[in-house]
Amino acid sequence: MALLETRGLTASYGDFQALFGVDIMVGSGETIAIIGANGAGKTTLMRSISGVLANAPASILYRDEPIGALPAPDILARGIAMVPEGRKLFPSLNVEENLLVGNYGRKIDGPWTLESIFALFPILKERRNNPATALSGGQQQMVAIGRGLMSNPALLLCDEISLGLAPVVVRDIYGAFPLIRETGASIVIVEQDIAQALKVADRVYCMMEGRVTLSGRTADLSRADIHKAYFGTDHHELA
């Protein structure tokens, strides 16, 4: 059964249209990767699903309910959490408080508690009383993910979580994904690093200029397909 579905989703900033009829589907317990060039509209898609941008109600269905027009807090209350692009930690709050704020709107029992997040990222327990801004970029990304998990979401949206991270940190962060999947949550990741994306995702959507240009199971896609979907040209023409 589809946990989340978008149907002909469109989105605009003022008179500039960023999404043109996007259809994607996320199954229960599935991990999806969304890839695409800069400005393709990936972040816009995430913002639409998470309720930061308002859309037509029926263009986004969650457990078969239309949620397109709901504001962000209502979306969270239904079980969709987001790790936003650029971490967006709260600088006035320390690490622990940043994590605690994550379940402000949704206090349900589940696998994720302060303790289990500290178990997932032990370094955060050490730095729990530091202001979030005093952490390194990687640690901040861990806080952002932990904060997203605190509400025990059924669906976790992650926008470019490896951006600007040292390779060792990227490895650590992606190392946490199997544990998250084990809890039964579905995950959508937006990722530029195709290799990384292909490694963790069950299925991939590729976007270009506000449209989905390719989708399929990771195993079935060739690099050439992906290139074509990315640029609308063949790999060789580019060089």
């Binding site: 930061v52 962000a72 807090p73 709260f90 006035s92 408080e97 940043n98 704020v101 402000y104 709107g105």
Partner: protein, 287 residues
Amino acid sequence: MNWLDTILQGVLLGGLYALFAAGLSLVFGIMRLVNLAHGDLIVLAAFLILILVTTLGLDPFVAALIAMPLMFAIGWGLQYFLLNRTLGKDILPPLLVTFGLSIVIQNGLLEGFSADSRRVFAGSLESASVNLGPVTAGIMPLMTFFSAVAVIVCLNQLIYRTSVGRAFRATSDDPVTAGLMGIRPQRIFAMATGLAMVVVTIAALYLGTRANFDPTSGPARLIYAFEAVIIGGLGSLWGTLAGGIILGVAQTVGAAINPEWQILAGHLAFLAVLLFKPRGLFPRAVD
């Protein structure tokens, strides 16, 4: 002896300023909202207390207790329906809207209550005083000061110890991301302003019992409230208390030298603090 008294009176006056400023500080700290109508809202609350006292024959303190939830509702509504729409990076829209609001409240009160000056009577408390060895202090000023301290302690507990307080601070940093955490910034802001109005009611109680007020007496003290907030540093409530006391003491000391210098001395103290600490005494790490 005399100097001791001057300092004491200054500190107590500082309590009054801190009380005027505490609500402002809360709103300023959480929403970066420069509320020019704050003084008029204090006067509005004073009129509310006055109505309760005169029509129901209540004790002013009881009246203030009843006025608190009413003012909370007014603050909540004001923020939710009006001020929320002005928030953003630019400080000008809230500045202008609250200036408009200030004019509206003043003239609305003028239409409703005429320009007469009014008082709220606190009975014999008004002239009561205690002897503290070499100096005497009025009961009302002492109560004002301790109310200011109590308000600040409570607000601090709320902001730094509760989940609502965390939501306040998070929303203050970044309302959009706070929304992703399930926080409804609109309501959080409304609640903050509501709370500020509760503090405003307390300030109104002491304003109304201390001296006459009329619909236009709001703005006169607004500048002191702002000074207290800024001396303390944006978002620091204890700083606001310190700011109030610095202002109060500067004024009484200035007046002791020559009454011509009273208000000037307060302003000069403010400028001196900013000269050395452009972000106030206790600035927040991030702005």
